[in-house]
């Protein structure tokens, strides 16, 4: 009962948010709708029992990436106008008949391909067939320091690269 409620709430939030991001012409509104969509995805993770993944989704995406995007929009002035002060459109119009037809067609083709590939995995489990959910935190932690310790350590190098890269890009140029 509650599982279904949680799932439908999260799924609706995800889809409505994502659709809003696509259709919104205001960058700030798009960012906020993206926040809603990311929250919905966290709810979906929670529904399948991946509690740590859900919390990470909140911490990293809702807390970090959305703020980063909001600041990035502020770099451009962030005004509600769809064109900037030089009269150039920030979000070029994409809604011509030709684009809709092509997009609709490619969505059909891609989704059929994916469905064909996924058909084997799309099996619905009865209650009790899967092991009872327990905390995924400890499993993730154990895997991170045993089987995937290299990935764990290398990710720190990746983060270091990101840190240095961010610092270098933002540095004022001399001369």
């Amino acid at each position: 009962m509650f599982e279904n409620t949680l799932f439908f709430l999260s799924a609706t939030l995800t889809i409505v948010g994502a659709a809003g991001v696509v259709f919104s012409k205001n960058l700030m509104h798009a960012c906020v709708l993206l926040l809603g969509s990311l929250f919905g995805i966290a709810g979906l993770y929670a529904t399948i029992g991946a509690d740590f993944l859900a919390a990470s989704q909140l911490v990293i995406y809702a807390g970090g990436v959305v703020i980063l995007m909001l600041f990035a929009v502020m770099l451009t002035g962030g005004s509600a106008d769809s064109s900037n002060k030089f009269g150039i459109e920030k979000i070029p119009g994409m809604g011509s008949t030709k684009t809709y037809v092509i997009a609709g067609f490619s969505v059909l083709v891609i989704s059929f391909t994916i469905l064909k590939l996924m058909a084997n995995f799309m099996k619905s489990y009865k209650a009790g067939e899967l092991p009872a959910f327990s905390s995924t935190v400890e499993e993730i932690g154990t895997l991170l320091v045993t089987d995937h310790v290299l990935a764990f350590e290398i990710s720190s190098i990746l983060l270091l690269g990101a840190l240095v890269g961010a610092a270098v890009i933002a540095r004022p140029r001399k001369g």
Binding site: V65, V137, T142, V149, L159, L160, L163
Partner: protein
């Protein structure tokens, strides 16, 4: 350990809907009770009595962006270290703690290196001092002399 049910998330959803409800109810009651006499003067942005010029939505300094970039790096670092920290005691208890201490220290030290790099290059300074080239210094001197 008892079987894990999704009921634990029920309070979260209830609390969030209560927040929405509180906002709707209070704004609704305020709507009924409060006066409503808008005028163009009231709706002006407050700038200490001056007429506002232009909009507030202007290009902001890049340093806000840099701060949030550095923040995300640490955020991801935290997210990766939390599960490892949660199992640390158990590994120590079975005598495998050295492995975890090693991997955690390596992980932290790489990031400490990053902080030291940013610090030494002055990226952590809010107000940045930067070296002018000789040409610019001479230009400035020229302006001063004219004045």
């Amino acid at each position: 350990m008892t079987a894990y049910t999704l009921d634990v998330y029920m309070p979260v959803i209830i609390l969030m809907s209560l927040a929405v409800g509180l906002v709707l109810v209070s704004v609704f009651f305020a709507q009924i009770l409060r006066p409503f006499k808008p005028s163009s003067l009231k709706e002006q942005a407050y700038e200490c009595g001056e007429d506002p010029v232009g909009t507030a939505w202007s290009n902001f300094n890049v340093r806000f962006y840099v701060v949030s970039l550095i923040f995300i790096v640490f955020d991801v670092e935290g997210a990766l270290m939390f599960p490892v920290a949660a199992i640390f005691r158990k590994f120590v208890a079975i005598g495998e703690g050295a492995v975890l201490v090693g991997s955690l220290l390596v992980f932290i030290s790489v990031l400490v290196f990053g902080i030291i790099y940013c610090w030494s290059k002055g990226d952590l300074d809010w107000v940045r001092s930067f070296q002018l080239s000789d040409e610019q210094v001479n230009q400035l001197k020229g302006i001063e002399e004219k004045a």
